[in-house]
């Protein structure tokens, strides 16, 4: 197996583990942990798409062309913004959980009517 293949497989597994946690857990903080893991998997997948074998980071030393191949900078720029947005989503979700705790006294989905499934 090559390096990108290993990373594809582990990113795939991270996404599945995160979604499994999101679907089956009853504690809401655990659900958000699952959301974070899936987020990480997606980011790893996107960055690995831009990888080329023996590629160096897309930073020029001088204006002349670099010696070896460089990896694709576009997915890296997208993931850079995606990580920050992911933090915003996590913060908002956790604040909603705190609000739910204040109004319902619990963060267990089985104990809050309307969130049971």
């Amino acid at each position: 197996m090559t390096v990108p293949q290993i990373l594809y497989v582990s990113a795939f597994l991270l996404i599945l583990i995160g979604l499994y946690s999101l679907l089956t857990q009853r504690n809401m903080i655990r659900m958000i942990i699952g959301l974070n893991i899936a987020d990480l998997g997606v980011n790893l997948f996107l960055v690995t798409i831009g990888f080329v074998d023996n590629g160096s980071a897309p930073i020029f030393r001088a204006q002349a062309a670099a010696a070896g191949p460089m990896v694709d900078p576009v997915p890296q720029a997208l993931v850079l913004t995606s990580i920050v947005i992911g933090f915003g989503v996590t913060a908002l979700a956790l604040t909603l959980v705190m609000r739910l705790f204040v109004t319902h006294g619990s963060i267990d989905t089985a104990r809050i009517r309307g969130l049971k499934w």
């Binding site: 390096v3 497989v9 946690s21 903080i29 990480l40 990888f51 933090f87």
Partner: protein, 104 residues
């Protein structure tokens, strides 16, 4: 190189599984933080240092802080998050302090 990546990815997936399956919620949060740190190592391997820096700063520092705040905010006031031992030590410390102020 391939073996390093293989070991790293086993760590990544194992930590994700542990974070989902572990009973204690605090351990799950710390495992998520460690997972973020290892993921930033993986980003470094695919030649993405910008993403690695951002992931290390946000994933392992900020996200952990905000998860811990949420955990503290949602604990029941009766059972509490501090264990009985910690509370007892705390109370005895407070008693010692009170005695000191009385003496002074």
């Amino acid at each position: 190189m391939t073996y390093i990546v293989l070991i790293l990815c086993v760590f990544l997936v194992g930590m994700a599984l542990a974070a989902v399956l572990v009973k204690d919620l605090r351990s799950a949060i710390i495992l998520l933080s460690a997972l973020s740190l290892f993921a930033s190592l993986a980003f470094l391997i695919v030649a993405a240092p910008d993403v690695a820096i951002t992931e290390a700063a946000i994933g392992s520092a900020l996200t952990t802080v905000i998860f811990v705040i949420a955990l503290f905010r949602t604990r029941k006031s009766t059972e509490g998050n501090t264990s009985a031992t910690v509370r007892r030590v705390d109370e005895s410390a407070r008693a010692v302090r009170r005695k000191e102020t009385d003496n002074a």
